[in-house]
Symmetry: C2
């Protein structure tokens, strides 16, 4: 296993060196290189079927399949991504982001955790599985799908999945782009929030106006927009879109108990996850973890209007804009929230102001699996074996294409992840804890074995 570990770290370093920043067109060639690199490693490892799906304008995705010997074995589709976040502000990195550094048991570099580390973990996991079981093929038919546009919001994913529907058919999706709760508290993730991004613009006149000439006598779109934003939450921080909570599934008593059992240090959380915020704040009656995992929210991501440079310019702005995103939980749907938002904006557009609502695509639906779903219980067993201790349940506050994958595949989706929430993904000095990835690989190796067992295999394949 030491040799496997060494080559695993060397490989991951090699991959991290490829600056596959998908959101930056100047790095699109690197995204292609990254896909090619992964294709070559998969072939090296003996995957019988390996393809790069390169259908412009979509950035390339990598697909691989390794059939089980037993044709009745279930088929598992593993999802990950090989594009990485931008590195700004680059001056806040302690080392060049694409020159990986080993420090103690950490590997530092952009993408080390999100998501190259976890995709590499699956490659290692399969090797360990084959070695441990003495097989020449996995116990389940394994399919690997690694997209190149996750950090761009997966704009072409639906099309890609539809175009390759047959190749991607499976009995279970394993989604690998989430983290453990804490290093000392291994968890199985059971859901992610959805998201709907919107841009609300209020227009007053056609030009900025000198505030001495008209101040006090015409509507100010910045003031009107502030009133809309202020009305978005009540005093209890609940979102005031009409019907917003109608479809929200309350966490079960068991789930709340599970989350409450997790270690949680508020000060450390504020420093690591809260960006140095001074205090927590949110819906009464819910803990911080519940607020970010199982409660929906509306956040202003940006607001602008009028003169925002240095010094002063006494104008009434011609327009003002707020970018607002809604995090959604089961069983909310972005389409329905979009309708609620348009109605809310309509109601909060005062006379003399014209409003416009722009949406960020179709949004991302939320997703959650029941902790006692048989597939999830298989993950729990695999993780417990790998980490050698009981694992608990967690959720993710962020969003990903889990619901889309699940809906198109029409099968359950479970999460397998071994990174940490304080890996500084999307921030300077991203790192991954290597021993956790090794345990994750071990968990994957167990999972393929467990899923092939007659009982669960039958349930999965119907």
């Amino acid at each position: 296993m030491a040799a496997l570990t060494d080559s695993f770290v060397a490989r991951l370093c090699e991959w991290v060196r490829i600056p596959s920043i998908g959101v930056d067109p100047r790095h699109h060639a690197d995204v292609h290189e990254s896909a090619g690199w992964l294709r070559d490693r998969l072939r090296e490892d003996g995957w019988p079927e390996v393809e790069v799906w390169d259908h412009g304008p979509a950035l390339p995705a990598v697909f691989a399949c390794w059939p089980a010997e037993d044709p009745r074995a279930p088929t598992v589709l593993v999802y990950g991504h090989h594009d990485v976040q931008p590195v700004d502000p680059v001056e806040r990195w302690d080392h060049p982001p694409f020159e990986p550094v080993i420090s103690g048991d950490e590997l530092l570099g952009r993408g080390a955790s999100d998501d190259k580390g976890q995709v590499a973990m699956h490659l290692l996991g399969l090797k360990a599985h084959l070695a441990a079981t003495g097989r020449s093929a996995p116990a389940v038919t394994l399919k690997l799908f690694v997209e190149g546009e996750e950090e761009s919001g997966s704009p072409h994913l639906r099309k890609l999945l539809e175009d390759h529907e047959d190749q991607l058919s499976c009995d279970l999706v394993v989604f690998t782009d989430t983290a453990l709760h804490e290093r000392d508290a291994p968890t199985v993730n059971t859901g992610q929030r959805g998201v709907l991004g919107a841009e609300v613009t209020f227009y007053g006149g056609t030009d900025d106006v000198h505030s001495g000439r008209a101040g006090g006598a015409i509507p100010n779109p910045a003031t009107a927009l502030a009133k809309l934003v202020a009305a978005l939450h009540d005093d209890d921080h609940r979102v005031r879109l009409e019907g917003f909570y109608d479809d929200v599934r309350e966490p079960t008593a068991q789930e709340r108990e599970d989350y409450a059992s997790l270690p949680f240090d508020e000060e450390r959380w504020l420093a690591n996850n809260g960006g140095g915020a001074r205090a927590t704040q949110g819906e009464p009656g819910y803990t911080t973890l519940e607020r970010i995992w199982v409660r929906p929210t509306a956040e202003v991501n940006g607001i602008s209007g009028g003169y925002t440079g240095p010094g002063f310019k006494t104008i009434i702005p011609a327009s003002a804009t707020a970018k607002i995103s809604f995090r959604l939980v089961p069983d909310q749907h972005p389409d329905k929230v979009a309708v609620q938002l348009r109605e809310f904006v309509r109601e909060h557009t005062p006379p003399g102001i014209r409003s416009e609502v722009g949406l960020r695509g179709e949004g991302v639906p939320p997703y959650a699996i029941r902790p006692d779903d048989p597939a999830n219980e298989a993950v729990v067993e695999a993780m417990s074996l790998a980490f050698d201790e009981p694992v608990r349940f967690a959720r993710a506050g962020g969003s990903g294409p889990a619901a889309l994958l699940q809906a198109l595949a029409g099968v359950p989706l479970v999460y397998l992840g071994a990174t940490l929430p304080d890996d500084r993904v999307h921030a300077p000095n991203e790192r991954v804890v290597v021993p956790l990835l090794l345990k994750g690989a071990e968990a994957a190796a167990h999972l393929w074995r467990i899923l092939a067992q007659a009982d669960i295999a039958k349930r999965l394949t119907r």
Copy 2:
């Protein structure tokens, strides 16, 4: 008079060619050139005492004095400015802004109206005064003070006035930087609103935070700031700073009647002064003219926070800022409003948010003169004679250093102006109507004569 007119227009064109944009350091040499140009013209015209006050960092001001023959004659200080507004967006000008164009009875170019045209008007007025009265010196001791930093908010004016207190001593200030109400409705301005600019910043954490990780669980400074801005006005558009209206002097019944008698076409006003706004809006019980002339207001000039570029970035911003300016009316004072604002911000800073309030200097106090003040009645008489019809009263919604001049000189201040509100000052295609400037010059010529009359002279000089 035709010869005088021709040389007046030629001179003004020459002056407009000098791009004396005081707010732009790249044009500071031009501001110096402009001051030198004016100094040379004043010497040409025979003013016995002419100086350029060039005390860095202040941009140069021009001072001139022409003593009356009669030592008991009152001393009048005329105020104007020779710096001009920037010309952005330059592509919206129909001609190069500093290449003046004559079109019908208009002269187009940056500064033609604000304020070079009106300073030039005074030079012409004195010539006309001397010609009409056959004197070799004006009937009053005339002092001319033309500053170079008005469009920058006159940051060094107080110091300049204090340094030259003796030279500037006078019995009356004539402030020449305001307009007539309309071409067909000549008016005497009797006041300007004051202004206090402030920048309110709310800080949450030290960094922007991914809204998936912490959304719903930490304070959002943009949301908190929107709530503050929303709270700034009640539903009747009244400003909600505690005590804001305590010192507001209500217009008299006579003043309201005077303003109501002025022609006012709301659609034309919205198009010209309201920047194409769709509707008027303001405090109930006041007309649009009252709202911009005699009522105080708070306007958001700019708001910003978080991600404001194209597309989306789902962050909770680390901070958000609003630039807010308050227009003030007699007897409000910027110092007091600053205290009220700080208290308001303190009250509207929620837990977990840190606030900062930055002020734009000391602010500009409002100023108004009683319409029946003897000095103002002299202006009314001079204007009526020049325009050959009765003049009415108006106010200005904008702000200027009138209160500062008045307070430091310790004498009354009156307004003499002959430009128009739709001269597009501070905007592309600034113009001035030449025949109005000629009437303004005539009014000045009358005014010096009237002010020298025994009765009013005695009242002014005590």
